[in-house]
Amino acid sequence: MPRIFCSIVHNAGVPDDSAFELAAAARKIDPASSPTAILTGWGANLDAACNALGAFYPETWKIANQALAYPNAELVRQALLRVLPGNSIVLVAHEHFGIDLAPGLSIKLNSAFVSDVLDVVGVEGASLNLVRQEFGGQVSAHVLCDITAGAVVTIRPGAFKAGQPAQADRLVVDKSNETGTLTARRRYLETVAPEAGDVDITKHNILVSIGRGIQEKDNVVIAQELADALGAAVSCSRPVVDAKWMEKSRQVGSSGKTVKPKVYLACGISGAFQHLAGIKGSPFLIAINKNPKAPIFQVADVGIVDDILEFLPALTEKVRELQHVA
Protein backbone atom coordinates (compact mmCIF):
# COMPACT_ATOMS: atom_id res chain seq x y z
CA MET A 1 0.00 0.00 0.00
CA PRO A 2 1.43 3.40 -0.94
CA ARG A 3 2.02 5.98 1.76
CA ILE A 4 -0.86 8.45 2.25
CA PHE A 5 -0.22 12.17 2.71
CA CYS A 6 -2.86 14.74 3.64
CA SER A 7 -2.20 18.30 2.49
CA ILE A 8 -3.56 20.47 5.30
CA VAL A 9 -5.08 23.94 4.99
CA HIS A 10 -4.72 26.14 8.05
CA ASN A 11 -5.46 29.71 9.01
CA ALA A 12 -4.09 31.82 11.88
CA GLY A 13 -2.52 28.77 13.51
CA VAL A 14 -5.66 26.63 13.36
CA PRO A 15 -6.04 23.65 11.01
CA ASP A 16 -9.18 23.70 8.87
CA ASP A 17 -11.89 21.17 9.85
CA SER A 18 -11.04 19.32 6.65
CA ALA A 19 -7.71 18.28 8.25
CA PHE A 20 -9.53 15.77 10.45
CA GLU A 21 -11.85 14.66 7.65
CA LEU A 22 -8.87 13.88 5.43
CA ALA A 23 -7.43 11.69 8.19
CA ALA A 24 -10.76 9.80 8.28
CA ALA A 25 -10.71 9.40 4.48
CA ALA A 26 -7.13 8.10 4.62
CA ARG A 27 -8.12 5.47 7.18
CA LYS A 28 -11.05 4.43 5.01
CA ILE A 29 -8.65 3.93 2.09
CA ASP A 30 -6.32 1.86 4.25
CA PRO A 31 -7.46 1.06 7.81
CA ALA A 32 -3.88 0.11 8.68
CA SER A 33 -2.44 3.36 7.39
CA SER A 34 -1.02 6.07 9.53
CA PRO A 35 -1.50 9.08 7.28
CA THR A 36 1.11 11.81 7.28
CA ALA A 37 -0.01 15.44 7.45
CA ILE A 38 1.92 17.89 5.32
CA LEU A 39 1.74 21.60 6.05
CA THR A 40 3.31 24.59 4.36
CA GLY A 41 3.48 28.08 5.82
CA TRP A 42 5.65 30.35 7.89
CA GLY A 43 6.30 31.41 11.44
CA ALA A 44 4.44 30.79 14.69
CA ASN A 45 1.13 30.13 12.93
CA LEU A 46 2.61 27.18 11.07
CA ASP A 47 4.06 25.71 14.27
CA ALA A 48 0.75 26.14 16.08
CA ALA A 49 -1.13 24.42 13.26
CA CYS A 50 1.34 21.51 13.22
CA ASN A 51 1.01 21.01 16.97
CA ALA A 52 -2.80 21.13 16.79
CA LEU A 53 -2.80 18.15 14.42
CA GLY A 54 -0.88 15.72 16.56
CA ALA A 55 -3.74 13.70 17.94
CA PHE A 56 -4.99 12.82 14.46
CA TYR A 57 -1.70 12.35 12.66
CA PRO A 58 1.18 10.33 14.11
CA GLU A 59 3.55 12.21 11.82
CA THR A 60 3.42 15.74 10.47
CA TRP A 61 5.76 17.17 7.85
CA LYS A 62 6.39 20.88 8.22
CA ILE A 63 7.62 23.04 5.35
CA ALA A 64 8.41 26.54 6.61
CA ASN A 65 9.29 29.15 4.01
CA GLN A 66 8.54 32.86 4.04
CA ALA A 67 7.32 32.60 0.43
CA LEU A 68 4.62 30.20 1.70
CA ALA A 69 3.22 32.59 4.33
CA TYR A 70 0.20 32.91 2.04
CA PRO A 71 -0.87 29.61 0.45
CA ASN A 72 -0.14 30.27 -3.23
CA ALA A 73 -0.89 26.96 -4.96
CA GLU A 74 1.95 27.34 -7.48
CA LEU A 75 4.53 27.70 -4.70
CA VAL A 76 2.98 25.00 -2.54
CA ARG A 77 3.09 22.63 -5.52
CA GLN A 78 6.81 23.23 -6.00
CA ALA A 79 7.43 22.59 -2.33
CA LEU A 80 5.38 19.39 -2.28
CA LEU A 81 7.07 18.06 -5.43
CA ARG A 82 10.45 18.36 -3.75
CA VAL A 83 9.50 16.39 -0.64
CA LEU A 84 6.82 13.86 -1.65
CA PRO A 85 8.07 10.31 -2.24
CA GLY A 86 7.13 8.72 -5.57
CA ASN A 87 3.82 6.86 -5.92
CA SER A 88 2.25 8.54 -2.88
CA ILE A 89 -1.47 9.01 -2.42
CA VAL A 90 -2.10 12.69 -1.68
CA LEU A 91 -5.42 13.81 -0.21
CA VAL A 92 -6.50 17.44 -0.50
CA ALA A 93 -9.74 19.15 0.57
CA HIS A 94 -11.96 20.04 -2.39
CA GLU A 95 -12.23 23.77 -1.72
CA HIS A 96 -10.74 26.83 -3.35
CA PHE A 97 -7.14 26.01 -2.48
CA GLY A 98 -7.43 22.32 -3.36
CA ILE A 99 -9.09 23.14 -6.69
CA ASP A 100 -6.12 25.41 -7.41
CA LEU A 101 -3.46 22.92 -6.34
CA ALA A 102 -4.54 19.37 -6.98
CA PRO A 103 -5.04 18.90 -10.77
CA GLY A 104 -1.64 20.34 -11.65
CA LEU A 105 0.02 18.47 -8.79
CA SER A 106 -1.26 15.17 -10.23
CA ILE A 107 0.24 16.02 -13.64
CA LYS A 108 3.63 16.89 -12.15
CA LEU A 109 3.60 13.71 -10.02
CA ASN A 110 2.48 11.72 -13.07
CA SER A 111 -0.21 10.16 -10.91
CA ALA A 112 -3.95 9.60 -11.23
CA PHE A 113 -6.42 12.33 -10.26
CA VAL A 114 -9.95 12.07 -8.90
CA SER A 115 -11.77 15.13 -7.58
CA ASP A 116 -14.58 15.85 -5.16
CA VAL A 117 -14.76 12.37 -3.65
CA LEU A 118 -17.61 11.64 -1.21
CA ASP A 119 -16.82 8.12 -0.15
CA VAL A 120 -14.23 5.37 -0.38
CA VAL A 121 -15.23 1.81 -1.23
CA GLY A 122 -11.70 0.53 -0.80
CA VAL A 123 -8.59 -0.75 -2.50
CA GLU A 124 -9.20 -3.35 -5.24
CA GLY A 125 -5.93 -4.75 -6.57
CA ALA A 126 -3.92 -1.86 -7.98
CA SER A 127 -6.93 0.44 -7.94
CA LEU A 128 -8.85 2.59 -5.54
CA ASN A 129 -12.66 2.45 -5.79
CA LEU A 130 -14.11 5.89 -5.02
CA VAL A 131 -17.56 7.50 -5.03
CA ARG A 132 -18.27 10.88 -6.58
CA GLN A 133 -21.33 12.72 -7.85
CA GLU A 134 -22.25 14.01 -11.27
CA PHE A 135 -25.02 16.10 -12.77
CA GLY A 136 -25.63 18.40 -9.85
CA GLY A 137 -25.71 15.53 -7.35
CA GLN A 138 -28.59 13.76 -9.11
CA VAL A 139 -26.50 10.63 -9.68
CA SER A 140 -23.44 9.10 -8.06
CA ALA A 141 -20.68 7.13 -9.74
CA HIS A 142 -18.13 4.54 -8.71
CA VAL A 143 -14.75 5.48 -10.11
CA LEU A 144 -11.73 3.18 -10.35
CA CYS A 145 -8.44 4.95 -9.99
CA ASP A 146 -5.15 3.20 -10.83
CA ILE A 147 -2.77 3.95 -7.95
CA THR A 148 0.28 2.16 -9.37
CA ALA A 149 1.97 5.55 -9.83
CA GLY A 150 0.19 7.15 -6.88
CA ALA A 151 -2.86 9.40 -6.89
CA VAL A 152 -4.05 12.87 -6.00
CA VAL A 153 -7.59 12.81 -4.63
CA THR A 154 -9.65 15.80 -3.53
CA ILE A 155 -12.17 15.13 -0.76
CA ARG A 156 -15.50 16.92 -0.45
CA PRO A 157 -15.64 18.95 2.79
CA GLY A 158 -18.10 17.42 5.24
CA ALA A 159 -18.30 14.07 3.44
CA PHE A 160 -16.15 12.20 5.99
CA LYS A 161 -16.74 12.39 9.72
CA ALA A 162 -13.63 13.23 11.70
CA GLY A 163 -12.70 10.21 13.85
CA GLN A 164 -11.59 10.13 17.46
CA PRO A 165 -8.08 11.36 18.12
CA ALA A 166 -6.07 8.22 18.79
CA GLN A 167 -2.40 9.01 18.61
CA ALA A 168 -0.59 9.84 21.80
CA ASP A 169 2.91 10.10 20.33
CA ARG A 170 3.43 12.53 17.57
CA LEU A 171 6.31 13.63 15.48
CA VAL A 172 6.79 16.87 13.57
CA VAL A 173 9.42 16.42 10.86
CA ASP A 174 10.92 19.64 9.53
CA LYS A 175 11.29 19.37 5.75
CA SER A 176 11.96 23.08 5.21
CA ASN A 177 15.52 22.59 4.00
CA GLU A 178 14.49 20.26 1.19
CA THR A 179 12.43 22.73 -0.84
CA GLY A 180 15.13 25.09 -2.12
CA THR A 181 14.14 28.37 -3.77
CA LEU A 182 10.49 28.80 -4.72
CA THR A 183 9.42 31.08 -7.55
CA ALA A 184 5.94 31.86 -8.89
CA ARG A 185 4.51 33.40 -12.00
CA ARG A 186 1.34 34.14 -10.09
CA ARG A 187 1.70 36.53 -7.16
CA TYR A 188 -0.78 37.02 -4.33
CA LEU A 189 -1.66 40.68 -3.83
CA GLU A 190 -4.41 40.98 -1.21
CA THR A 191 -7.77 39.62 -0.04
CA VAL A 192 -10.77 41.88 -0.57
CA ALA A 193 -13.75 41.46 1.78
CA PRO A 194 -17.25 41.49 0.28
CA GLU A 195 -19.40 44.59 0.43
CA ALA A 196 -22.08 44.58 3.12
CA GLY A 197 -25.57 44.25 1.68
CA ASP A 198 -28.83 45.98 2.53
CA VAL A 199 -30.13 43.01 4.53
CA ASP A 200 -28.10 40.80 6.88
CA ILE A 201 -29.43 37.31 6.17
CA THR A 202 -27.36 35.87 9.03
CA LYS A 203 -29.59 37.64 11.58
CA HIS A 204 -32.97 36.14 10.63
CA ASN A 205 -34.88 33.24 12.20
CA ILE A 206 -36.77 32.45 9.01
CA LEU A 207 -35.23 32.55 5.54
CA VAL A 208 -37.20 32.32 2.32
CA SER A 209 -34.39 31.15 0.07
CA ILE A 210 -34.77 31.06 -3.69
CA GLY A 211 -32.86 29.23 -6.41
CA ARG A 212 -32.89 28.86 -10.15
CA GLY A 213 -36.56 27.84 -9.93
CA ILE A 214 -37.53 31.50 -9.48
CA GLN A 215 -36.79 31.70 -13.23
CA GLU A 216 -36.51 35.47 -13.66
CA LYS A 217 -35.70 38.66 -11.82
CA ASP A 218 -39.27 39.92 -11.88
CA ASN A 219 -40.34 36.87 -9.86
CA VAL A 220 -38.08 37.68 -6.89
CA VAL A 221 -40.91 39.87 -5.58
CA ILE A 222 -42.96 36.70 -5.02
CA ALA A 223 -40.42 35.54 -2.44
CA GLN A 224 -40.11 39.04 -0.96
CA GLU A 225 -43.86 39.25 -0.40
CA LEU A 226 -43.84 35.92 1.44
CA ALA A 227 -40.84 37.01 3.50
CA ASP A 228 -42.56 40.29 4.39
CA ALA A 229 -45.68 38.44 5.49
CA LEU A 230 -43.64 35.99 7.60
CA GLY A 231 -41.26 38.57 9.05
CA ALA A 232 -38.46 36.75 7.25
CA ALA A 233 -35.65 37.69 4.87
CA VAL A 234 -35.05 36.52 1.32
CA SER A 235 -31.79 34.69 0.69
CA CYS A 236 -30.74 32.75 -2.39
CA SER A 237 -28.46 30.18 -3.99
CA ARG A 238 -25.63 30.83 -6.43
CA PRO A 239 -27.52 30.80 -9.78
CA VAL A 240 -29.68 33.72 -8.58
CA VAL A 241 -26.56 35.81 -7.89
CA ASP A 242 -24.87 34.68 -11.11
CA ALA A 243 -27.91 35.90 -13.03
CA LYS A 244 -27.71 39.26 -11.14
CA TRP A 245 -31.24 38.84 -9.76
CA MET A 246 -30.03 39.40 -6.19
CA GLU A 247 -26.94 40.87 -4.54
CA LYS A 248 -24.04 38.60 -3.54
CA SER A 249 -24.74 39.50 0.12
CA ARG A 250 -27.93 37.41 -0.08
CA GLN A 251 -26.14 34.22 -1.19
CA VAL A 252 -26.06 31.24 1.17
CA GLY A 253 -23.18 28.82 0.62
CA SER A 254 -19.48 28.16 0.87
CA SER A 255 -18.70 31.13 -1.37
CA GLY A 256 -21.44 33.25 0.24
CA LYS A 257 -22.84 33.61 3.75
CA THR A 258 -23.14 31.00 6.47
CA VAL A 259 -26.59 31.21 8.07
CA LYS A 260 -28.17 29.66 11.18
CA PRO A 261 -31.92 30.27 10.94
CA LYS A 262 -34.59 28.26 12.75
CA VAL A 263 -36.56 27.64 9.57
CA TYR A 264 -35.16 27.49 6.05
CA LEU A 265 -37.61 27.46 3.14
CA ALA A 266 -35.64 26.23 0.12
CA CYS A 267 -37.70 27.35 -2.88
CA GLY A 268 -36.66 26.09 -6.30
CA ILE A 269 -33.20 25.24 -4.93
CA SER A 270 -31.66 22.01 -6.21
CA GLY A 271 -29.41 21.52 -3.16
CA ALA A 272 -25.83 21.62 -4.40
CA PHE A 273 -23.40 20.79 -1.60
CA GLN A 274 -21.78 24.21 -1.87
CA HIS A 275 -25.16 25.72 -1.01
CA LEU A 276 -25.88 23.29 1.85
CA ALA A 277 -22.44 24.05 3.29
CA GLY A 278 -23.72 27.53 4.15
CA ILE A 279 -26.68 26.25 6.22
CA LYS A 280 -25.60 25.56 9.79
CA GLY A 281 -27.29 24.89 13.11
CA SER A 282 -29.70 22.26 11.70
CA PRO A 283 -32.66 24.51 10.91
CA PHE A 284 -36.03 22.96 10.05
CA LEU A 285 -35.65 22.69 6.29
CA ILE A 286 -38.70 22.81 4.07
CA ALA A 287 -38.01 22.24 0.37
CA ILE A 288 -40.35 23.16 -2.46
CA ASN A 289 -39.21 22.03 -5.90
CA LYS A 290 -40.85 20.95 -9.16
CA ASN A 291 -38.27 18.21 -9.67
CA PRO A 292 -38.97 15.23 -7.38
CA LYS A 293 -35.36 14.09 -7.97
CA ALA A 294 -33.83 17.33 -6.69
CA PRO A 295 -31.08 16.47 -4.18
CA ILE A 296 -32.53 19.01 -1.74
CA PHE A 297 -35.22 16.43 -0.88
CA GLN A 298 -32.52 14.15 0.52
CA VAL A 299 -31.58 16.63 3.21
CA ALA A 300 -34.86 18.47 3.84
CA ASP A 301 -37.15 17.70 6.77
CA VAL A 302 -40.28 18.25 4.73
CA GLY A 303 -40.64 18.35 0.96
CA ILE A 304 -43.33 19.56 -1.41
CA VAL A 305 -43.23 18.80 -5.11
CA ASP A 306 -44.81 21.90 -6.59
CA ASP A 307 -44.13 24.96 -8.72
CA ILE A 308 -42.87 27.74 -6.44
CA LEU A 309 -44.28 30.38 -8.78
CA GLU A 310 -47.77 29.14 -7.85
CA PHE A 311 -47.12 27.76 -4.36
CA LEU A 312 -45.42 30.82 -2.85
CA PRO A 313 -48.12 33.38 -3.77
CA ALA A 314 -50.80 31.02 -2.42
CA LEU A 315 -48.79 30.62 0.79
CA THR A 316 -48.41 34.39 1.12
CA GLU A 317 -52.12 34.85 0.63
CA LYS A 318 -52.84 32.39 3.42
CA VAL A 319 -50.42 34.06 5.84
CA ARG A 320 -52.03 37.45 5.20
CA GLU A 321 -55.48 35.96 5.66
CA LEU A 322 -54.56 34.51 9.06
CA GLN A 323 -52.94 37.76 10.17
CA HIS A 324 -56.04 39.66 9.12
CA VAL A 325 -58.22 37.35 11.22
CA ALA A 326 -55.89 37.71 14.20
Binding site: E134, H142, L144, Y188, A193, S254, K293
Partner: protein, 263 residues
Protein backbone atom coordinates in the same frame (compact mmCIF):
# COMPACT_ATOMS: atom_id res chain seq x y z
CA UNK B 1 -4.78 39.12 -27.29
CA UNK B 2 -5.30 35.64 -28.74
CA UNK B 3 -7.67 33.75 -26.45
CA UNK B 4 -8.65 30.08 -26.52
CA UNK B 5 -11.73 28.91 -24.63
CA UNK B 6 -12.09 25.17 -24.00
CA UNK B 7 -15.77 24.27 -23.82
CA UNK B 8 -17.92 21.21 -23.38
CA UNK B 9 -21.46 20.20 -24.29
CA UNK B 10 -23.29 18.74 -21.29
CA UNK B 11 -26.81 17.73 -20.27
CA UNK B 12 -28.45 20.74 -18.64
CA UNK B 13 -29.22 19.46 -15.14
CA UNK B 14 -31.49 22.36 -14.31
CA UNK B 15 -33.74 21.24 -17.16
CA UNK B 16 -33.40 17.49 -16.77
CA UNK B 17 -34.31 14.75 -14.36
CA UNK B 18 -31.39 12.39 -14.74
CA UNK B 19 -32.35 8.70 -14.96
CA UNK B 20 -30.08 5.70 -15.26
CA UNK B 21 -30.19 3.06 -17.97
CA UNK B 22 -31.06 -0.42 -16.69
CA UNK B 23 -27.46 -1.64 -16.59
CA UNK B 24 -26.36 1.39 -14.60
CA UNK B 25 -23.36 2.03 -16.82
CA UNK B 26 -24.73 5.27 -18.23
CA UNK B 27 -27.46 7.83 -17.77
CA UNK B 28 -30.52 7.81 -20.02
CA UNK B 29 -29.45 10.30 -22.69
CA UNK B 30 -32.21 10.09 -25.30
CA UNK B 31 -34.52 12.71 -23.86
CA UNK B 32 -31.90 15.01 -22.39
CA UNK B 33 -31.60 18.68 -23.24
CA UNK B 34 -27.94 19.48 -23.95
CA UNK B 35 -26.29 22.86 -23.91
CA UNK B 36 -22.86 24.40 -23.46
CA UNK B 37 -21.59 23.91 -19.92
CA UNK B 38 -22.71 27.01 -18.03
CA UNK B 39 -19.29 28.06 -16.73
CA UNK B 40 -17.80 27.64 -20.22
CA UNK B 41 -20.35 30.08 -21.60
CA UNK B 42 -19.26 32.65 -19.02
CA UNK B 43 -15.67 32.01 -20.12
CA UNK B 44 -16.54 32.76 -23.75
CA UNK B 45 -18.33 35.97 -22.76
CA UNK B 46 -15.31 37.02 -20.70
CA UNK B 47 -13.00 36.35 -23.65
CA UNK B 48 -15.22 38.44 -25.92
CA UNK B 49 -15.21 41.31 -23.43
CA UNK B 50 -11.40 41.21 -23.10
CA UNK B 51 -10.98 41.25 -26.89
CA UNK B 52 -13.43 44.16 -27.12
CA UNK B 53 -11.16 46.12 -24.74
CA UNK B 54 -7.69 45.21 -25.98
CA UNK B 55 -8.18 43.62 -29.42
CA UNK B 56 -7.47 40.09 -30.58
CA UNK B 57 -9.38 36.93 -31.41
CA UNK B 58 -11.41 34.32 -29.58
CA UNK B 59 -11.25 30.64 -30.55
CA UNK B 60 -13.60 28.12 -28.95
CA UNK B 61 -12.50 24.48 -29.00
CA UNK B 62 -14.17 21.31 -27.81
CA UNK B 63 -13.11 17.67 -27.66
CA UNK B 64 -16.01 15.49 -28.74
CA UNK B 65 -18.04 14.31 -31.68
CA UNK B 66 -20.17 15.75 -34.48
CA UNK B 67 -23.03 16.43 -32.10
CA UNK B 68 -20.81 18.83 -30.15
CA UNK B 69 -20.49 21.19 -33.12
CA UNK B 70 -23.73 22.91 -32.07
CA UNK B 71 -22.12 24.53 -29.03
CA UNK B 72 -19.26 25.86 -31.18
CA UNK B 73 -21.79 27.48 -33.52
CA UNK B 74 -23.67 28.92 -30.59
CA UNK B 75 -20.50 30.52 -29.22
CA UNK B 76 -19.57 31.78 -32.69
CA UNK B 77 -23.01 33.38 -32.85
CA UNK B 78 -22.07 35.12 -29.57
CA UNK B 79 -19.04 36.54 -31.34
CA UNK B 80 -16.22 34.00 -31.17
CA UNK B 81 -14.05 34.29 -34.29
CA UNK B 82 -13.34 30.62 -34.74
CA UNK B 83 -14.50 27.19 -33.63
CA UNK B 84 -12.44 24.02 -33.54
CA UNK B 85 -13.82 20.50 -33.19
CA UNK B 86 -11.16 18.12 -31.87
CA UNK B 87 -12.48 14.70 -32.70
CA UNK B 88 -11.13 11.20 -33.10
CA UNK B 89 -12.38 7.75 -32.08
CA UNK B 90 -9.01 7.28 -30.40
CA UNK B 91 -10.04 9.91 -27.83
CA UNK B 92 -12.93 7.79 -26.49
CA UNK B 93 -12.56 6.78 -22.86
CA UNK B 94 -9.96 9.45 -22.08
CA UNK B 95 -9.77 10.55 -18.45
CA UNK B 96 -9.13 14.13 -17.39
CA UNK B 97 -5.42 13.83 -18.08
CA UNK B 98 -6.19 12.42 -21.54
CA UNK B 99 -8.48 15.35 -22.41
CA UNK B 100 -5.86 17.80 -21.11
CA UNK B 101 -3.21 16.02 -23.22
CA UNK B 102 -5.38 16.43 -26.34
CA UNK B 103 -5.97 20.11 -25.58
CA UNK B 104 -2.25 20.68 -24.96
CA UNK B 105 -1.49 19.38 -28.46
CA UNK B 106 -4.13 21.71 -29.90
CA UNK B 107 -2.76 24.70 -27.97
CA UNK B 108 0.74 24.03 -29.28
CA UNK B 109 -0.52 24.26 -32.87
CA UNK B 110 -1.48 27.90 -32.30
CA UNK B 111 -0.23 30.96 -30.45
CA UNK B 112 -2.49 31.75 -27.54
CA UNK B 113 -1.80 34.35 -24.86
CA UNK B 114 -4.65 33.27 -22.63
CA UNK B 115 -6.55 30.02 -22.23
CA UNK B 116 -9.87 29.92 -20.42
CA UNK B 117 -12.00 27.01 -19.23
CA UNK B 118 -15.15 26.90 -17.14
CA UNK B 119 -14.42 26.16 -13.49
CA UNK B 120 -16.24 22.85 -13.63
CA UNK B 121 -18.43 20.80 -15.96
CA UNK B 122 -21.75 19.28 -14.93
CA UNK B 123 -20.23 15.82 -15.25
CA UNK B 124 -16.64 16.80 -14.55
CA UNK B 125 -14.31 17.51 -11.71
CA UNK B 126 -12.81 21.00 -11.98
CA UNK B 127 -9.69 19.38 -13.38
CA UNK B 128 -8.96 20.16 -17.04
CA UNK B 129 -7.76 23.76 -16.64
CA UNK B 130 -5.25 22.97 -13.90
CA UNK B 131 -4.01 19.88 -15.73
CA UNK B 132 -3.64 21.71 -19.04
CA UNK B 133 -1.67 24.50 -17.34
CA UNK B 134 0.67 21.97 -15.72
CA UNK B 135 1.19 20.10 -19.01
CA UNK B 136 2.01 23.38 -20.79
CA UNK B 137 3.97 24.59 -17.77
CA UNK B 138 1.88 27.79 -17.73
CA UNK B 139 0.74 29.51 -14.53
CA UNK B 140 -2.85 28.80 -13.49
CA UNK B 141 -5.61 30.34 -11.40
CA UNK B 142 -8.96 28.70 -10.62
CA UNK B 143 -12.35 30.14 -9.65
CA UNK B 144 -11.58 33.44 -11.40
CA UNK B 145 -14.32 36.05 -11.07
CA UNK B 146 -12.67 39.14 -12.55
CA UNK B 147 -9.90 39.80 -15.08
CA UNK B 148 -8.06 43.04 -15.75
CA UNK B 149 -5.39 43.23 -18.47
CA UNK B 150 -2.23 44.97 -17.21
CA UNK B 151 0.75 46.26 -19.18
CA UNK B 152 3.82 44.08 -19.54
CA UNK B 153 2.18 40.72 -20.34
CA UNK B 154 0.32 40.35 -17.06
CA UNK B 155 -3.24 40.10 -15.77
CA UNK B 156 -4.79 41.07 -12.46
CA UNK B 157 -7.33 38.42 -11.55
CA UNK B 158 -9.53 37.81 -8.55
CA UNK B 159 -10.41 34.36 -7.30
CA UNK B 160 -13.60 33.53 -5.45
CA UNK B 161 -12.58 32.17 -2.05
CA UNK B 162 -14.67 31.43 1.05
CA UNK B 163 -17.33 33.74 2.45
CA UNK B 164 -17.54 35.99 -0.59
CA UNK B 165 -13.93 37.14 -0.20
CA UNK B 166 -11.86 37.83 -3.30
CA UNK B 167 -8.24 36.79 -3.54
CA UNK B 168 -6.40 39.25 -5.80
CA UNK B 169 -3.46 37.95 -7.83
CA UNK B 170 -1.15 39.11 -10.55
CA UNK B 171 -0.40 36.41 -13.12
CA UNK B 172 2.02 36.29 -16.06
CA UNK B 173 0.88 35.53 -19.62
CA UNK B 174 0.55 33.06 -21.18
CA UNK B 175 -1.62 31.43 -18.52
CA UNK B 176 -4.67 29.26 -17.99
CA UNK B 177 -7.64 30.50 -15.95
CA UNK B 178 -10.73 28.58 -14.88
CA UNK B 179 -13.72 30.91 -14.90
CA UNK B 180 -16.38 30.96 -12.19
CA UNK B 181 -20.05 31.48 -13.08
CA UNK B 182 -21.35 35.00 -12.44
CA UNK B 183 -18.17 36.75 -13.65
CA UNK B 184 -20.22 38.61 -16.27
CA UNK B 185 -23.63 38.60 -17.94
CA UNK B 186 -23.37 36.39 -21.03
CA UNK B 187 -25.05 37.96 -24.03
CA UNK B 188 -28.21 36.50 -25.44
CA UNK B 189 -27.95 34.38 -28.57
CA UNK B 190 -31.02 34.39 -30.79
CA UNK B 191 -31.96 32.00 -33.58
CA UNK B 192 -31.02 34.70 -36.08
CA UNK B 193 -27.47 34.81 -34.77
CA UNK B 194 -27.13 31.06 -34.99
CA UNK B 195 -28.49 31.05 -38.57
CA UNK B 196 -25.85 33.59 -39.55
CA UNK B 197 -23.05 31.21 -38.64
CA UNK B 198 -24.84 28.05 -39.75
CA UNK B 199 -22.80 27.65 -42.91
CA UNK B 200 -19.41 28.76 -41.57
CA UNK B 201 -17.12 25.74 -41.83
CA UNK B 202 -15.75 24.49 -38.53
CA UNK B 203 -12.35 22.83 -38.87
CA UNK B 204 -11.86 19.43 -37.28
CA UNK B 205 -8.65 18.09 -35.78
CA UNK B 206 -7.82 14.40 -35.36
CA UNK B 207 -5.08 12.80 -33.26
CA UNK B 208 -2.79 12.61 -36.29
CA UNK B 209 -3.35 16.32 -37.15
CA UNK B 210 -2.17 17.22 -33.67
CA UNK B 211 0.67 14.71 -33.44
CA UNK B 212 -0.86 13.00 -30.44
CA UNK B 213 0.60 9.60 -29.61
CA UNK B 214 -2.32 7.20 -29.29
CA UNK B 215 -0.78 5.59 -26.21
CA UNK B 216 -1.16 8.87 -24.26
CA UNK B 217 -4.93 9.22 -24.67
CA UNK B 218 -8.12 7.17 -24.81
CA UNK B 219 -9.25 4.32 -22.65
CA UNK B 220 -5.94 2.43 -22.66
CA UNK B 221 -4.05 5.40 -21.18
CA UNK B 222 -6.76 6.33 -18.67
CA UNK B 223 -5.76 5.90 -15.04
CA UNK B 224 -9.28 6.81 -13.97
CA UNK B 225 -12.36 4.95 -15.21
CA UNK B 226 -15.99 5.19 -14.25
CA UNK B 227 -17.34 1.79 -13.25
CA UNK B 228 -21.03 2.64 -13.09
CA UNK B 229 -23.63 5.16 -12.07
CA UNK B 230 -26.01 4.66 -9.18
CA UNK B 231 -28.71 6.65 -7.45
CA UNK B 232 -27.37 7.82 -4.10
CA UNK B 233 -29.01 6.38 -1.01
CA UNK B 234 -31.43 9.11 -0.06
CA UNK B 235 -30.05 9.63 3.44
CA UNK B 236 -32.75 10.42 5.93
CA UNK B 237 -34.89 11.90 3.17
CA UNK B 238 -37.64 14.48 3.46
CA UNK B 239 -41.16 13.66 4.51
CA UNK B 240 -42.97 14.50 1.27
CA UNK B 241 -46.32 16.22 1.78
CA UNK B 242 -48.75 14.65 -0.64
CA UNK B 243 -51.90 16.64 0.09
CA UNK B 244 -53.59 19.21 -2.09
CA UNK B 245 -51.81 22.54 -2.43
CA UNK B 246 -54.15 24.04 0.19
CA UNK B 247 -53.47 21.23 2.64
CA UNK B 248 -49.73 21.52 2.06
CA UNK B 249 -49.88 25.26 2.68
CA UNK B 250 -51.70 24.74 5.99
CA UNK B 251 -49.13 22.20 7.06
CA UNK B 252 -46.19 24.41 6.09
CA UNK B 253 -47.65 27.27 8.10
CA UNK B 254 -48.13 25.09 11.16
CA UNK B 255 -44.54 23.87 10.86
CA UNK B 256 -43.12 27.35 10.37
CA UNK B 257 -45.07 28.57 13.41
CA UNK B 258 -43.92 25.65 15.52
CA UNK B 259 -40.27 25.70 14.48
CA UNK B 260 -39.56 29.36 13.84
CA UNK B 261 -42.38 31.34 15.32
CA UNK B 262 -44.56 33.65 13.29
CA UNK B 263 -45.12 37.27 14.04
Amino acid sequence: MEILVCAKRVPDTSENEIQLVATGNDIERDELVYSINEADNYAVEEALQIVARVGGNVTVATVGGEEDEEILRREMAMGANRGALITDDAFNGSDGRGIATILKAFVQQGHYDLILTGVQAEDGGAQIGGMLAALLDYPFASLVNSIEVLDGGKLKVSREIEGGNKEMNEIDLPCVLSIQTGINEPRYVGMRGIRQVASVPIPTFAASDLGIGVNTIGEAAAKVKRLNYFIPASGRGAEILRGTREQNIDQVLQLVAAKGGLR
